[in-house]
């Protein structure tokens, strides 16, 4: 429950981004309660920024941050420069990179970002400082926020500020901040809980108790709320027990659900409340229920001692003795179980088991455990695994595994890039000179073609100047001209007046020649236009060819340098990869050892508790035997 309250850290960011995309209100420089407005923003003005959001909204934060940085490198997100930086800082923060995130936000502030961006930067800086335990600095950053932040960031800012104040010992200040959001109409249950705690810690016990009491009776819509209600009731119940207010304690504790995170503590406390009211029989009810539960919880172990104590109080010495002996046997079994678990942890089964039973594809802080590892007495580890320290360490381990796979993939890719570059370089070195040489050999070089084009242009101009339609005759017409010439020659060689039909032939020749001349003259303008157009196309094509040739020449001259540059970059990146990959592997090993140590330390503490409980049980058994052998009036039970 506690984690899930802040799981939406990035959800918060998402809402923040979405809020910024949607809002474009009036500037409110003189009204600190209004959200300051930046220049109006349209939803997405740079598609690459939208692509980052696409990854981000799916919870794929690693691709989101890498794509974001790549697009920043290529300057493809100029319309969203500040928003992209806020997002980048938030993503870095989500990976626990406090220093880098702080640098991003500080840079935003230094370059005079718009007010809303500045306020959010101060908020995130305050959060970073709070997480690093720098409370005065966090307080200073919070004080720099000038305007109300967009929802739901504003409530979180207040919660953060209240927590910072509480950490600085200013509980009254914290309750003052929390009151507006945790008042009668306050929706934020956590703010109300924290307000209650702040008031009690600040000495205003009655007010704090009233708030927690009200929270403890509220109908909750979901599991998170119900768990918080249980937590409030357990807190109140144990506080009442401490103040020897057993009736109040019973009232609070009986509100706690029988199944839930707080149920074991509530059952134990409920029994103590009954005992404090001299009702050992009533105390037996919750304690017997509790004693049968999973022994990994210290409350259950304590209940196993409390049950025989209650029997003894009821003068049921035989049952008490039997229960004490059962408890001692259970403690010994549990002790052996812990030893087996510690051995399994040392063999690496804990981390391996958690990884295999809870696979995850992403880096990030909110991976949750769905299943316990398959190993001896894994349930003993439930409280350890649920702890913040273990979760954080495991997150680091999982992140390192993710990064190890990422680097291995890149190692393969870089090899492919190298091969691709070599192939490209070889093809380039072999094919380009050949193409250019081949063109020269075929007389297809640009100069030769240009000469031919120039000749054509000159001929065209000459024909156009002379208005020479014959110059534009097509193949049929040229053949017809040849035939006419042959006929003309033939007729010229014949003796005149030898044949009366010759005159007719001359006449027909004249008419045909005239028709051809007319046709050529008629077609002349269109043909000139077509020829000029063709000539222009030729010249345009020659310009393109020259440009391409120039590009080829440039490529031939410069591309080897580009290839060299790529090769150098590949080599450098490969070197960095080769430095980082073993570092990641070594850190993963170290992190695994640290994880195991966290679990073992906790299990050893459980062993110590068991030893203490066993000693108490043995002492109680001895007292019972003493009482049996030397009965004294008025003496009752041995105490655990």
């Amino acid at each position: 429950m506690q984690r899930s309250r802040f799981l939406p850290q990035l959800g918060l960011l998402a809402a923040l981004v979405a809020g910024v995309l949607a809002t474009a209100g009036a500037r409110a420089a003189d009204d600190p309660d209004k959200v300051p407005a930046d220049p109006p923003l349209h939803p997405v003005l740079d598609p690459h920024y939208g692509d980052v959001l696409f990854e981000f909204y799916q919870g794929r934060y690693f691709p989101a941050i890498t794509k974001l940085e790549v697009s920043q490198h290529f300057e493809r997100m100029q319309h969203h420069a500040d928003e992209a930086e806020i997002l980048r800082g938030g993503l870095l923060l989500s990976y626990g990179l406090h220093k880098q995130a702080a640098e991003v936000f500080e840079a935003l502030l230094a370059r005079g970002a718009p007010p809303s961006v500045r306020d959010r930067a101060w908020y995130f800086l305050a959060k970073i400082r709070y997480q690093r335990g720098l409370m005065p600095e966090a307080s200073q950053a919070l004080a720099r926020i000038e305007h109300r932040l967009p929802e739901p960031l504003e409530d979180d800012r207040r919660l953060l500020q209240a927590n910072v104040l509480m950490a600085l010992g200013d509980n009254a200040g914290a309750s003052k901040i929390l009151t507006p959001i945790a008042g009668p109409k306050g929706e934020d249950l956590f703010a109300r809980y924290n307000l209650g705690v702040a008031l009690i810690r600040g000495g205003q016990v009655a007010q704090g108790t009233a708030i927690l009491d009200k929270l403890g009776q509220q109908t909750m819509p979901d599991e998170e709320g119900r768990a918080l209600r249980d937590k409030a009731n357990v807190a109140l119940g144990f506080a009442a027990l401490k103040d020897e207010q057993a009736l109040d304690a019973r009232k609070y504790l009986q509100r706690v659900r029988l199944e839930g995170i707080a149920s074991n503590a509530a059952l134990l406390g409920f029994g103590w409340a009954a005992d404090a009211l001299s009702q050992p029989k009533a105390a037996l009810v919750p304690w017997l229920e509790l004693a049968g539960r999973d022994a990994s919880d210290p409350s259950v172990l304590e209940a196993q001692l409390a049950v025989p104590y209650a029997y003894a109080e009821l003068h049921a010495d035989a049952q008490a003795l039997k229960r004490y002996e059962t408890a001692i046997a259970n403690f010994q079994t549990a002790d052996a179980d812990i030893d087996a678990t510690i051995a399994a942890i040392r063999e690496g089964k804990l981390v391996e088991g958690l990884m295999s039973r809870n696979p995850g594809e992403e880096m990030g802080w909110f991976q949750t455990f769905r299943d316990l590892p398959l190993m001896p007495h894994a349930r003993l580890l439930t409280p350890v695994i649920a702890g913040n320290e273990f979760q954080e360490a495991f997150k680091n381990y999982r992140d390192l595994q993710f990064l190890g796979h990422n680097l291995a993939d890149w190692h393969d890719n870089l090899g492919v890039f190298g091969d691709m570059l070599a192939t490209r370089r070889q093809a380039f070195a072999e094919r380009l000179p050949k193409i250019r040489e081949q063109g020269l050999a075929n007389g297809q070089d640009i100069a030769h073609l240009q000469q031919r084009s120039d000749d054509n242009a000159a001929a065209l101009k000459q024909a156009e100047d002379a208005q020479d339609g014959v110059a534009f005759a097509d193949a049929n017409e040229r053949e017809l001209q040849q035939r006419l010439k042959r006929v003309t020659d033939t007729l010229a060689n014949l003796p005149p007046d030898t044949d009366p039909s010759l005159a007719e032939a001359h006449d027909r020749l004249r008419r045909v020649a005239g028709a051809l001349a007319w046709q050529l003259a008629h077609e002349y303008p269109a043909r000139v236009w077509t020829a000029k157009k063709g000539q222009q196309q030729t010249e345009d094509a020659l310009v393109d060819a020259r440009a391409h040739d120039e590009q080829l020449a440039t490529a031939q001259r410069e591309e080897p340098a580009h290839f060299e540059d790529f090769a150098r970059r590949i080599a450098e990146l490969d070197a960095r990869l080769n430095i980082l990959a073993p570092r990641v592997t070594a850190l993963a090993t170290e992190q695994q050892a640290a994880l195991q140590e966290i679990a073992i330390v906790e299990l050893k503490a459980q062993k110590e508790r068991l030893a203490a409980y066993t000693a108490q049980a043995r002492f109680a058994v001895a007292q019972l035997y003493d009482r049996a052998t030397e009965p004294k009036e008025g003496d009752h039970a041995a105490k655990p």
Partner: protein, 227 residues
Amino acid sequence: MLNLTRTALIALGLCAVTALSPVFAADTPVPAASASAPVPAAIAAAPAQEPAASAATPATGASAPESAASAAAASEPAPTGSLDDRVQQTKADVIRLNRDLLVLEEELLFPANTQVAVFVSMDVGLLFDLDSVQIKLDDKVVTTYLYTPLEVQALHRGGVQRVYLGDLKAGSHEIVAFFTGKGPHDRDYKRATTIRFDKSTEPKYIELQIKDVQQKLQPEFDVKVWQ
């Protein structure tokens, strides 16, 4: 009675202290090393140290981040400090390396003078439940993409998906996009949209937009050419 009192008070004291702590503090993930991590006391007590080189923020817009970064990497010693500090520093280094590798990949495989990127976005999108997109460039299928509910949700929230990244030579080209899904009244819906565009020596970004036309109660598919 003495023993009972002691046990009870220990239990009460522990529980009460635990219970009466603010929720927010426990909620916020804290680096393991800043809590009681099993590290040598001297290291744990020392202030968080990070190598100076880590202060170098990514040089956005720099022409060759690799050179600077690699030079830094070459001279950068392995991070020191607590385990958590070293892990965080290494994470930062790997993120930076990923950026440089992606820049290299893009410049090598999709150089600016031939690069074409196709994006898909959704404006409202209530009238169309997207299942898949197929894209043809110059009559050749270059990508077919099936959407998960999470991806559709990301589009609804304002995300823009880069569905295709490739190369095209300069000149005139045609893109055809086929959208399939559920239209109004939960009916199967398949629509295509097409546009001709000129590719210069600059990168070309094409956005396929799915919009709602409330007047017609029909989805509409547009193509926007960014450059």
